[in-house]
């Protein structure tokens, strides 16, 4: 099939950037969205045009590198799916597709569709860890953890840090990401030691990076490719309040 693609082109962080329209030919419905972009880039290279830069790594839906706002939706129209797992059978011949980078002050565009998600790393550095003594591995069941708690922590930890929550949020808020990272520790006994400082430092780091404020629109959980629940935001709000008044 043939498609009309409107893609954000921006030479570097200082360039103003603009939408450019391309025609992509001979796209198979079996391709993934990123393979479709590979084909487009091949066609652009043959015409001596700079190929479109986009982030990707595993292409298996687990690394969190691929991004892209596709027709206004983070990771495209499929729920609980990363861009690399979106397949072209979603589209039909002649479709027009708008492809834009994550938009947030905290995620500056590096080139075309690639943004710098270093803000997430800095939030993690501020408190997204547990301190444990090194040495030989402890016994697997030395620390008893209730099944529900373990499941909850695992559900939070499934966040792959792609930034779709920020990109989809009308306020460019990073609350779901930070909440997931706070909750993956807060639900486990190992995370109790730094509980208070963690939530305070991570929220402070989030605010410093210039993300927006949560207005409970829940667009984040709808866009999340790992279906991380916004219930974790409520948990973080609780933790933050408890830490603040103690």
């Amino acid at each position: 099939m043939n498609l009309t693609l409107h893609i954000w082109r921006q030479k570097n962080a200082n360039d103003k950037g603009k939408m450019v329209t391309y025609k992509a030919h001979d796209i198979s419905t079996h391709m993934s969205f990123l393979e479709m972009l590979d084909v487009l880039n091949q066609q652009l290279i043959e015409k001596n045009i700079d190929p479109v830069a986009f982030d990707h790594d595993c292409r298996e839906g687990i690394c969190g590198m691929c991004s892209l706002i596709i027709n206004g939706k983070a990771h495209g129209p499929w729920s609980a799916t990363t861009t690399c797992q979106l397949h072209m059978r979603e589209y039909k011949d002649g479709d027009e597709i708008y492809i834009e980078p994550w938009r947030s002050k905290a995620f500056p565009v590096i080139k075309d569709l690639v943004v710098n998600r270093g803000a997430f790393d800095r939030i993690m550095q501020s408190g997204g860890f547990v301190s444990v003594n090194t040495g030989s591995a402890p016994d697997a069941n030395a620390t008893p953890i209730a099944k529900e708690k373990a499941d909850l922590a695992m559900a939070a930890a499934s966040c792959i840090g792609c930034g779709a929550c920020v990109a989809q949020c009308k306020n460019a808020s990073a609350m779901l990401f930070v909440a997931a990272k706070v909750s993956q520790f807060a639900n486990l006994p190992q995370g109790q030691i730094e509980k208070k400082a963690r939530v305070q430092n991570m929220v402070a780091a989030m605010d410093r990076e210039g993300f927006g404020n949560c207005t409970n629109l829940l667009e984040c959980e709808a866009a999340c490719p790992m279906s991380v629940s916004a219930n974790f935001i409520a948990q973080m709000n609780r933790e933050f309040f408890a830490a603040g008044i103690k």
Binding site: K170, S173, V203, F211, G212, E239, I245
Partner: protein
């Protein structure tokens, strides 16, 4: 405590707590006004009781003004922060599941701000119609019943009130549920109930409040 209140989550707590208290006031105000459906003496007596509170009345008014100002200023601060968080918007934006009321809180909120200023000028200060001040009951008290009937008898004024109640309903639809999430009150068992509290309050407040100008215009209340 200062660091808590100035953080993004702290500001949300401020919105939620002031919001709950304003919702409670809205409900109380509505119940009080529904006395218009009883004999004229009922609402006149109620109004006179409120007027006779003296210092306490001013304390309540001061408290309400404080809540209102804090809610509005914090809301505007959050909104401006959110605008700054996405300096370049999407060329083709889309919404997955956020409801219309949740996305228009700033619009309905500012509309309500304008409406409340008008509402106070209309029925409290009588600036829009100074003749209201001279409506008196045989006992010499303010005739609130007559004031409401005269006030809502004006088609334009009633239209403004009904439009404002649409804004209020939308604001409550999101706000009166959203505070649970902000305060961290979230439990898988109760989330279904929490989700409908806002819409239920919104519908109740909209229907009952709108019924008053509609009843006056249709001569149900004379």
């Amino acid at each position: 405590m200062f660091a808590f209140l100035t953080s993004s989550i702290g500001k949300k707590y401020i919105m939620a707590v002031t919001g709950i208290l304003l919702v409670l006031f809205t409900l109380g105000h509505m119940v009080g006004n529904l006395q218009i459906y009883l004999k004229p003496e009922a609402i006149n007596k109620y109004a006179h009781t409120l007027q006779s509170l003296g210092g306490l009345l001013w304390l309540i008014r001061g408290g309400l003004l404080f809540l209102f100002v804090v809610h509005v200023i914090t809301g505007i601060t959050l909104y401006l922060g959110n605008q700054g968080a996405r300096p370049i918007d999407y060329v083709k934006p889309a919404t997955i599941k956020a409801t219309l009321p949740s996305r228009t809180m700033i619009i309905t909120g500012l509309s309500l701000f304008a409406f409340i200023v008008y509402h106070i000028m209309h029925f409290t200060l009588h600036l829009t119609d100074p003749s209201f001040s001279f409506l008196a009951t045989p006992e010499g008290h303010m005739d609130v019943h007559r004031m409401l009937v005269t006030g809502f008898g004006n088609m334009l004024a009633s239209a403004v009130y009904i439009a404002a109640m649409i804004a209020l309903g939308m604001h409550l639809y999101h706000g009166a549920t959203s505070w649970f999430q902000t305060l961290g009150i979230n439990n898988v068992k109760y989330n279904c109930t929490i989700k409908i509290i806002g819409p239920v309050i919104a519908v109740i407040v909209f229907l009952f409040n709108t019924s008053i100008p509609v009843s006056v215009l249709t001569k149900f209340i004379k």
